[in-house]
């Protein structure tokens, strides 16, 4: 998409000045192409009827020249977002065999529920497939790059639209996936929540949230609230999936030993066979895991695994924030889906380090 001042003209009046679309996620850099990649957040206000238009450049992946800042390409994933589907999740830079040749791609698991495989030199969307049950759109038109929306699932001012999947938290939040060059697969956490969304007017008051939305979340299809899965970004399909009681809010780690690690909100650190998806080892901590497991070589030459436990984040706010479980709209509706979490874990803040045996 190209044109002068689209970031202004795709909004009514001066709404672009206070329209969210912030950059609060991850940055990636490709030294070969000398391009910098990042995603932008949802547009504000949450009530979509106060900001007609595509609301560029919200929910957009940008490729920029780091020396000048000039955009090489940009791709908006959720035009005129009405669901809070931020586009800030990480963009993983890999080379994959596609159509008989090696393509320089970028893989992105978006909150809107689609996993994208994009040519990172040109911005061409090669593949966009849902990785969780979703109903706001049926698919993505690869010609135009636009999602094919389900009109009944788009929030409107003055109405409560029920049962939209995924919820405002997204089919995945900002905790990053991992890629294993050994298996050629991606490993990603996921969230399986849906929502009711009532939109109403909001006044812009500096220092206060600019919303205009009453959101209430609950478990998605199947009743499990999260999962951890392996993804083939060439074919656009899940290879295996482990269902979890709560949203998976930790990052993923893939190792050269063909193990992948992730944590759960009820405190389990799990090691999984990267190829088959079998849980090979697990250990429970006092508090839930919303950090990213890492492995590293210590100064003593030993290999270590480290992870932070200490539950929190949007889905886990009910625990450290002492939110009231009888307000279904607390934490922008997340508490309705998560009010039993305090029975399964505690507030915390610990680093756990494991050494590999010789």
């Amino acid at each position: 998409m190209r044109g002068p001042d689209l970031g202004i003209t795709s909004w009514p009046g001066q709404e672009w000045r206070r329209g969210g679309s912030t950059v609060w996620g991850w940055l990636s850099y490709d030294p070969g192409l000398d391009l910098l990649y990042y995603g932008t957040a949802n547009p504000g206000v949450w009530n979509p009827d106060q900001r007609e238009g595509d609301n560029l450049w919200s929910t957009t992946i940008f490729a920029r020249d780091p020396a000048t800042g000039a955009a090489r390409w940009a791709y908006q994933m959720s035009p005129h977002d009405a669901w809070d589907y931020d586009g800030v999740n990480e963009n993983i830079v890999v080379d994959l065999p596609i159509g008989g040749r090696t393509r320089k791609v970028l893989v992105h698991f978006d909150r809107n529920g689609f996993a994208y495989t994009i040519d990172r030199a040109t911005g061409e969307v090669l593949l966009a497939e849902p990785f969780q049950p979703i109903n706001w759109a049926t698919d993505v038109d690869l010609e135009s790059g636009r999602p094919v929306e389900v009109a009944a699932k788009r929030p409107k001012q003055g109405e409560i639209v029920r049962n939209i999947c995924p919820s405002a938290i997204g089919a995945r939040d900002q905790q990053p996936a991992a890629f294993s060059p050994r298996t050629g697969l991606f490993y990603s956490p996921a969230v399986n929540l849906c929502m009711d969304y009532g939109a109403f007017p909001a006044e812009h008051i500096p220092g206060t949230p600019y919303l205009g939305a009453a959101v209430k979340m609950y478990p998605g299809p199947g009743g499990h609230r999260g999962s951890f899965f392996a993804w083939d970004a060439v074919e656009g399909r899940k290879v295996w999936e482990i269902k979890e009681k709560f949203p998976v809010w930790s990052g993923a780690l893939a190792t050269a030993g063909d193990l992948v690690f992730y944590g759960t909100m009820d405190g389990w650190l799990k090691a999984v066979d990267a190829r088959g998806g079998e849980v090979l080892w697990r250990k429970r901590f006092d508090s839930g895991i919303v950090g990213n497991p890492i492995s590293y070589l210590g100064p003593d030459g030993k290999e270590y695994l480290a992870v932070y436990s200490g539950v929190g984040g949007w889905a886990g706010a009910v625990v450290p924030g002492h939110l009231s479980p009888d307000d279904p709209y607390a934490a922008l509706g997340a508490v309705n889906a998560m009010r039993d979490l305090p029975e399964h874990t505690n507030p915390g803040g610990m680093i756990h380090v494991f050494a590999l045996e010789d």
Binding site: G13, E15, Q50, P130, F131, Q132, P133, I134, N135, T138, D139, A152, K153, G158, N163, C194, D196, F200, P201, A202, E203, I205, G207, T208, Y210, A214, V215, Y218, P219, G220, P221, G222, G223, S227, K238, I242, K243, V279, L280, W281, K283, L305, A317, G321, L323, S324, P325, D327, P328, Y329, A330, A331, G333, V335, N336, A337, R339, A355, L356, E357
Partner: protein, 150 residues
């Protein structure tokens, strides 16, 4: 890894994700309240609590304190724990002056004294049978007033 224990597999089934309007969540599967919460008693006037609920929505209070004041980025106002006092006058003071060190702006230049006291009345009605819970209706009367809504 140290102390490695082998455990049974928890591998899920292989199946593509569903899409489209047929996909539906499970509102009825939302978890039960962890414990019974005893309602409080409300001594004020219902009309004031309802007027305060309108202020609570129109002034974006719900964005920080939760849709029914159960907390979000800001603390819960319905749990009976007060960091700055829970009397009518202490709550009114918090609304007028804010707590800028905690991220809450002052509202004294925006709200009349009557509106502040309506908000106090709404907050005192929380977790009582009189608590108003409407959202969209907060704008019914003022939706078309010029200059009110952008």
């Amino acid at each position: 890894l140290a102390a490695v224990t082998l455990l049974a597999s928890a591998c899920g089934e292989e199946r593509g994700p569903e899409t489209g309007a047929a996909v539906a969540g499970s509102p009825e599967a939302a978890p039960e309240l962890p414990r019974k919460i005893e309602p409080r008693r409300f001594q004020g006037r219902l009309a004031n609590a309802r007027a305060g609920r309108v202020q609570f929505i129109q002034n974006n209070c719900y964005g920080c304190h939760g849709g029914q004041a159960g907390g979000s980025m800001g603390p819960s106002l319905r749990d009976g724990d007060w960091e700055h006092g829970g009397s009518d006058s202490a709550i009114a003071h918090s609304i007028r002056e804010g707590h800028p060190d905690r991220g809450m702006p002052p509202f004294k230049n925006r709200l009349s004294e009557r509106q502040v006291m309506e908000l106090v009345s709404y907050i005192q009605s929380l977790r009582t049978p009189a608590e108003p819970t409407f959202f969209l209706e907060a704008w019914d009367d003022t939706m078309h007033v010029a200059g009110r809504v952008p």
